[in-house]
């Protein structure tokens, strides 16, 4: 259920905010500065035109053009306007707002606009009934750019990576009247001039979203010692999404698939509805040893529905953009649904002067994704905490309060839609006849939710009259009946099956410390720092180890699910002088390599006779820890905040660097390498081609200045100039700076987006950007 700001009783208050901003690329990759025609020749491909360009532009030294800087240079201003009104009259409170935000992306010809409106109402009827409701409607239209992984040479990071930047791509070719071709790397249909690309193609996404919720509350009983409240909550979240992509017939790469012109339209309709009823009885006897006991009981019913279909046509009539009339047609239609019913009961007791809090509860769910739809799966939870107020007060008055807490809870994570069904697949057509083949994904009618058991113990403490506060927790999450998408042996003739087949655990600590070093009438400085660290293990696995599906293979690094190892390890090809073996008892037998030493891993460039290439653990993608610092400094009417994030370790597969080395274009290609006969780029790529991917597994430690914010609370007379009560001016910067040794754009990218595994692969992403805003906030 999504709920947002509500109104407050009293005279209506209005608020208007206007923001103006700009953006720029945080960091670009640079590219190789070629020194001579001979050096650039292998990367031209074979066209005579490329050769003549190279000869003309490389006498004597090759010219260098900042292609990336020119493509990702869109600093056009962004605007945001926010209007809101909130107030209340008698028994009605309301909140309404309108928001319009438009911004450009750093890649030319990209941008987004979000317009939304919201209305929240609260109404009290009599003294027992409260009704509240809200509606939020938004329209989001984005003009996306092109980036990330592709094999057609269209993504700009690919075209730039393989093409020497020796001529100006922004010139108009007098013969065609359009931007010049990309002649490098063989030219032809395998590449494109990215400047032509971003200005000619269409890649739009348009989403209308409606969120509504309603809440009925009935105070059935309200006495000194007992209150009983019944509540019904219902919410709807709907969206309609339409995506259109169009690539005109004349684009340089269109000839590659034999069909000129490509058009695609993608529609998705989603509707999520959530309803719940509950009853809460609070008993407050007013005894010292029992402050209150609260019992809640309730149930929910949740439905999710999403229908997606797309049409793609290739071989279009020139300038006709819609997906029809093409010579090659592909369509897809998919329906995704989920329904869940649950019941829960919960008891919470607060006792001993509100020092002790104990609670216990259980939730039972049955859902449509489980193999057995009629079975309720129960998830209990328990927690307790105790506050020591003014502990050790005989010895010190510095400690305000220490609270110890512990909790244990279970929650379930459901299987994916369709996993429980035994299906048979359509196999494709031959000569107009359809076919049936065994489904690649074997259904599992026994599938059930995986259960996460989380145990947490923690400590909260406050010192020095609130000037210092500390929270620390240690948690352990054990997922049992782990849902594993397991690849069957190919010799079975089948693909994958989702099973409940293992146990995975995560252990970690989270800590936060807030300190207020200075607190006077005019000045206040607060520092808040948080730290977190965790380690994951696969404790048990019911099937043999397997590499996580959805990766680029062992040569780019991927996670492997294997019992007794961390699922965050990056596995890839590496070289060893020899391999240790195990004897009949399972004991490790250390071997000796041709260099006379015990078996060891070889660094890139190291050679030992009879070395072995093997898919093994390279590094851990999980950081050792992450910490952040938030400083807030207020001096009179000025407030300055700064947020710094520091990630310690966490390796990334920097495959963007591999791309640029393969294309001979990385900015450090010509630097020195451990092998004096090879420049660095050739050395790295040669090691990769020879079975050792470690030159591309990079340490992702970074320190980022995420945000700096300066706000000025203007004096009242300034506000009155605008007939307002309140005026605030702020200047904000986001993603301002990054300090890291990482080669590519940003160590936080993940090629596969929001995935559970394989989160460390960086392959030709879109550069990240830093943003600046100036806002003016008026309150009426």
């Amino acid at each position: 259920m999504i709920t947002t700001k509500r109104g407050k009783a009293g005279t209506t208050r209005y608020n208007a905010t206007q923001r103006i901003g700009t953006q720029q690329a945080t960091r670009l990759l640079g590219s190789r500065h070629f020194t001579s025609y001979d050096e650039v020749k292998p990367y031209l491909g074979s066209s005579a035109h490329a050769d003549s360009i190279a000869k003309a532009n490389c006498t004597p030294q090759c010219q260098w053009y900042d292609w990336q800087g020119q493509l990702y240079n869109n600093t056009s201003p962004s605007f945001e306007t926010l209007l809101s009104a909130s107030g209340g009259v008698n028994n009605t409170k309301y909140f309404a707002s309108l928001n319009d935000r438009q911004a450009k992306g750093i890649q030319q010809n990209t941008g987004a606009r979000l317009t939304s409106g919201r209305l929240n109402l609260d109404q009290t009827i009599g003294d027992k009934i409260t009704i509240s409701g809200g509606v939020d409607v938004s329209h989001n239209k984005t003009q996306d750019g092109i980036g990330n992984n592709d094999n057609a040479g269209i993504s700009p990071t690919y075209s730039f990576g393989y093409s020497p930047a020796i001529y100006d791509l922004r010139r108009i070719d007098p013969v065609t009247g359009r931007l010049v071709y990309m002649w490098m790397n063989g030219g032809g249909a395998g590449t494109v001039n990215p400047f032509d690309l971003v200005h000619s193609i269409t890649n739009l996404e348009d989403t209308w979203r409606q969120i509504a919720n309603v809440r009925f509350g009935y105070a059935a009983l309200s006495t000194v010692h007992n209150t009983v409240q019944f509540t019904y909550i219902g919410g709807v979240d709907r969206f309609q999404f339409e995506g259109t992509q169009y690539s005109p017939n004349y684009m340089q790469y269109e000839a590659a698939d034999g069909f000129l012109g490509t058009s695609q339209i993608n529609n998705s309709d989603s509707r999520n509805i959530n309803q719940s009823v509950n009853a809460v009885w609070t008993y407050s006897p007013g005894f010292r040893f029992l402050n209150s006991a609260q019992t809640s009981v309730g149930g929910t019913y949740e439905t999710q529905y999403q229908h997606t279909y797309l049409i793609r046509q290739r071989g279009l009539t020139p300038t006709r953009q819609v997906a029809t009339g093409g010579t090659d047609i592909a369509t897809n239609d998919f329906l995704n649904e989920f329904r869940d019913q649950s019941r829960y009961v919960n008891e919470q007791i607060i006792a001993f002067d509100e020092k002790l809090a104990v609670s216990a509860g259980i939730r039972a769910d049955r859902g449509s994704a489980n193999g057995d739809r009629s079975k309720f799966y129960g998830f209990p939870k328990y927690s307790a905490s105790y506050r020591f107020t003014e502990p050790f007060s005989r010895f010190t008055s510095k400690i305000d309060e220490i609270k110890l807490r512990a909790s244990y809870g279970q929650s379930g994570n459901r299987p994916n839609y369709g996993v429980r069904d035994i299906t048979i697949a359509g196999g494709g057509t031959i000569g107009g006849a359809g076919s049936l083949v065994a489904a690649g994904t074997v259904g599992n009618p026994k599938i059930k939710p995986e259960v996460m058991n989380e145990t947490e113990i923690g400590l909260d403490a406050a010192f020095l009259r609130g000037r210092v506060s500390l929270e620390a927790s240690h948690y352990e999450r054990v997922i049992k009946d782990l849902l594993v998408n397991y690849p069957l042996a190919a010799s079975s003739g089948l693909g994958t099956q989702q099973i409940n087949g293992g146990q995975m655990s995560t252990r970690g600590i989270e800590a936060g410390l807030s300190v207020v070093p200075i607190s006077t009438r005019n000045t206040e400085w607060t520092i808040r720092t948080t730290f977190q660290h965790n380690v994951q293990y696969v404790d048990k696995l019911a099937v043999p180890a397997f590499p996580v599906l959805g990766s680029f293979g062992a040569s780019y690094g991927r996670n492997r699910i294997a019992a007794g190892t961390r699922p965050t390890y990056i596995w890839g090809n590496q070289r060893y002088s020899c391999i240790n073996t195990t004897d009949a008892n399972g004991k490790l037998v250390v071997g000796t390599g041709a260099d006379g030493k015990a078996c060891h891993r070889l660094n890139p460039g190291e050679t030992v006779a009879s070395a072995i290439t093997r898919d093994s653990i390279v590094a851990d993608a999980n950081p050792i820890g992450q910490t952040s610092f938030l400083n807030t400094l207020r001096y009179r009417a000025f407030t300055l905040t700064a947020l710094v994030d520091w990630r310690i370790a966490g390796y990334t597969a920097d495959m963007t660097k591999n791309l640029w080395d393969e294309g001979g274009n990385s900015r450090d290609y010509d630097s020195k390498s451990p092998d004096p006969s090879q420049p660095l780029g050739e050395f790295r790529y040669g090691s990769f081609a020879g079975g050792n991917i470690s030159p591309y597994i990079d340490l992702g430690t970074f320190v980022k200045l995420r945000e700096v914010n300066v706000t000025y609370q203007a004096p009242a007379r300034w506000a009155r100039l605008a007939r307002a009560n309140d005026l605030r001016i702020s200047l904000q910067g986001r993603n301002l700076a990054m300090k890291t040794n990482y080669w590519s754009f940003d160590p936080e990218f993940n090629n596969f987006g929001n995935s559970n595994f394989n989160r460390f692969i960086d392959l030709a992403p879109y550069p990240s950007n830093r943003q600046f805003f100036l806002s003016i906030d008026l309150g009426y």
């Binding site: 329906l335 076919s435 690849p487 089948l494 070395a611």
Partner: protein, 495 residues
């Protein structure tokens, strides 16, 4: 007191209300409209046709991978993708393990495995469906003969690519249960037996199949009809002959050569062929535009498929000084030059300006086996049984009519090796890009005679002997050891 009872009643009402919310279990019984449910399909009257077409779709799905995998290693072709060097390095360089160069089991060159086993699983399901159905005895016999022929073909393809590693021949009903490896020798015996069993079933199969075969078996595409049990039998015999010839050079000996000759005489071999049409008679895989599958090798859309330069330099000349007719018909020149990725010790000499003109459009069919191949297989079999003159005569049918070359200078007095060289030249140009070259050179222990592209460095002169067992298969089997990781104590899954 009153208040307590009142509270209890209120609470009971609350609990009941909570129960009522979302009470009906049937509310969450939603269907899955995205896929066909297996139970529902089995009872559909069109199911048998759809399942049979499924087997042919599966077989077709393995064809192009077999051609390209063996084509790159057999030095017939390259895949020069400008932004993906691994399409070259993974086949021509591989990895070094204990001083021995081999293909990476986690890399690109691990194909021709999952596709074939997918087909075998569908054949397993099909045979069970036929057995359980209420068809007449001849119909069942014909259907089983059809399925077993395809089974033999799929297992033969696995043997062609894995050779001495052995293969797995059994499909288990439980998908989690693993079947053991059998040796190459056992594998070939199994294939020959099953093709013979299929032949017996086809002979008892009446005059028509209880379903329609794909167009590639029909006279319009194939030249003659192969879509009835008696005519499909000829296709079965052709596959048997090819498997027997391969087996003969891998330990099958004289018996296998003789079996090959017997099978060829029952196949569609036509040694009176003189025209291209007559040589092209055979069974084909057909392709087409969406929703059908396209021929991915066609020059109309495939700009990364290049031919090996040695095909040009090694082509023999006709009497008029022009190159071999088969070269002229199948190769086109003048493509923009492309090469493999630039690495310190990579295949930098691998480059080409030649392409293929074998498949002009995305609906051009690809042959599974043709008359031209049968004649050359008979040449091999005749040589194997000591009939050198017969072998040379068969070789010349193809050489003079298909290649337009003068008759061979080989005679009955020439050495076996020289005649093998002659046959292999004819096979190279007649069966270019039909998935034979690499296997033929390996069978006669001539892999080192392939034109090699890596002149120096650790990977010098590497030609893969077999495709590896894919790593995902090995990870499933490592813990079991024994026959599950290789036949007769061999370890196919060692790093």
């Amino acid at each position: 007191m009153m208040k307590r009872t009142q509270m209890q009643k209120l609470f009971a009402a609350a609990v009941l209300a909570a129960m009522a919310a979302g009470c009906k279990q049937s509310d969450i019984d939603i269907s899955n409209p995205n896929s066909a449910l297996a139970g529902g399909v089995a009872s559909d009257p069109t199911a048998l046709q759809l399942l049979a077409t499924g087997l042919m779709v599966d077989q077709r799905g393995t064809r192009q991978a077999l051609i390209t995998n063996s084509g790159i290693i057999g030095r017939e072709m390259y895949t020069f993708t400008p932004n993906e060097g691994r399409n070259t390095t993974h086949y021509l360089i591989g990895i070094s393990v204990g001083g021995v160069q081999k293909l990476d089991p986690t890399g690109f060159a691990t194909g021709s495995w999952a596709g074939e086993y997918g087909a075998l699983r569908d054949i397993f399901n099909f045979k069970n469906t036929i057995d359980a159905s209420s068809r007449t005895a001849p119909e069942k016999s014909a259907a089983l003969g059809f399925a077993e022929t395809l089974e033999g073909l799929m297992l033969f393809q696995l043997l062609e690519t894995r050779d001495s590693l052995g293969i797995i021949t059994e499909i288990k009903a439980d998908p989690f249960e693993l079947a053991p490896f059998v040796s190459r020798d056992s594998g070939y015996k199994y294939v020959l037996n099953i093709l013979d069993d299929a032949a017996a079933k086809l002979s008892a199969g009446g005059s028509s199949f209880p379903f329609t075969l794909a167009p590639g078996f029909g006279a319009a595409v194939a030249g003659i009809a192969f879509n009835t049990p008696p005519t499909f039998l000829k296709f079965n015999r052709a596959i048997k002959a090819k498997a027997a010839v391969h087996y003969a050079t891998r330990g099958g000996g004289a018996a296998a050569w003789q079996a090959a000759l017997t099978a060829l005489s029952a196949s569609f071999l036509n040694d009176q062929a003189t025209t291209r049409t007559a040589f092209d008679v055979g069974v084909y895989d057909t392709y087409g535009a969406s929703p059908d599958s396209p021929n991915g090798l066609t020059q109309a859309t495939n700009t990364t498929l290049y031919a090996h330069m040695s095909i040009q330099t090694d082509a023999e000349l006709k009497a008029n000084g022009q190159p071999d007719d088969r070269y002229t018909a199948k190769i086109r020149s003048g493509l923009p030059s492309r090469q493999g990725p630039v690495t310190g010790s990579g295949p930098t000499s691998a480059s080409s300006t030649l392409g293929f003109s074998i498949w002009p459009s995305l609906s051009t069919p690809i042959p599974i086996i043709r008359n031209e191949e049968l004649i050359l297989l008979r040449a091999e079999a005749k040589l194997g049984t000591g009939d050198k003159a017969g072998a040379i005569a068969d070789l010349n049918i193809v050489r003079t009519n298909s290649g337009g070359l003068p008759a061979s200078t080989l005679t009955a007095a020439s050495s076996n090796d020289a005649i093998v060289t002659g046959i292999l030249y004819e096979k190279r140009y007649s069966l270019l890009m039909e998935g034979d070259r690499w296997m033929d050179m390996r069978r006669y222990n001539r892999l080192d005679q392939l034109p090699l592209d890596v002149p120096s460095g650790a990977n010098k002169n590497f030609v893969a002997r077999v495709l590896p067992i894919p790593q995902s298969e090995c990870l499933n089997r490592i813990a079991k050891g024994g026959d599950f990781i290789g036949p007769n104590g061999q370890n196919d899954c060692a790093p």
